[in-house]
Symmetry: C2
Subunit: 187 residues, 2 copies
């Protein structure tokens, strides 16, 4: 195998995942994975461009970056790509005003977004906000639209590290309910 | 076409659906469908045995029969087959103790069922009881079982008469979450 220097010859930057790569989430802000703080520091001292990405959809980048900084990471909000700001860009580009079926922890990412008179639904791992009432609010918004738009911030299934009901089923639930009703209406 | 008398020659009984056949549900107990009260009365005066069936899973037979009697129907609780009592029979036969993710209106049907230390989940159109907490309670019960048992009282999808999120997606959500986690555990 070629030495690292040679293998990286054509590489101009690195994109690092965060959860499970830099740190393990958990009580009290989680813990850094051994060697990861120093690895990020070395990459930043190198000629490589460093950026971070995450599928975290229950907290804002500000909160996530704050946690990571407290764990010793050299990281800033502008270096992080996450589902919520990506969704905000789509919303702005397409003139969409969302009903937000999301976790309170990520709500601040949508502070600049007009949510009046919604013409789409943004759904994410909403946790306790997955109430029947909120599901029906989202459903009613979608049903009143000629072409329902449902934007999901990721469909994380349950696994042994996350033994709870996740957004997956809620996304499918809403999409199928709307689809069924639309098919019915098309008859 | 043969006259009715001849066509019914080999028929010993009739099984009547209730919702949308005898009455339309709605505010104030709903309304009888034209001619249905008299039709039931005539059938009962005939030599035919008459029984009723329903997929109603949000109210007890006692409540449903009370509504129908107030609308003028000759009907008693013992003549009605419904999902909840059918589920109770399965639970008793198989020694199952359910966690009940159901509508409060149908809970009385399970009064004689032991729900301590649950070893299965019974799910139905739970309405407001489809909270994230209750979904996770059900999920945790299923996950602690070697062979998870999920009994559904029917999977009514949304339609133009029921424009709300129904049990369908919640049943699938729970089943898939458990299935995903089990597959993960099997690796």
């Amino acid at each position: 195998m070629a030495p690292w220097g040679k293998r990286l010859a054509g590489v101009r930057g690195v994109l690092l995942d965060i959860s499970g790569v830099l740190y393990d989430s958990g009580a009290g802000g989680g813990t850094a994975i051994a060697g990861s703080v120093e690895a990020v520091a070395r990459l930043k001292r190198s000629r490589l461009k460093v950026r971070f990405c995450t599928n975290e959809s229950q907290k804002s980048r500000a909160e996530l970056v704050g946690q990571l900084q407290r764990l010793g990471f050299d990281i800033s909000e502008q270096e992080v790509t996450a589902p919520a700001p990506a969704a905000c860009q789509i919303l702005k580009e397409q003139g969409l005003r969302p009903y937000l079926l999301i976790h309170d922890g990520v709500r601040s990412e949508f502070d600049q977004i007009d949510t009046s008179n919604p013409n789409c639904v943004v759904i994410a791992d909403a946790g306790e906000s997955f109430s029947y009432q909120n599901m029906n609010n989202a459903f009613q918004v979608l049903m009143e639209l000629e072409k329902p738009v449902l934007i999901s911030l990721g469909k994380g299934p349950s696994d042994e590290h996350h033994p709870e009901v996740k957004a997956d089923g809620y996304v499918d639930n809403l999409a199928e309910a709307v689809d069924l009703l639309l098919q019915h209406a098309d008859k």
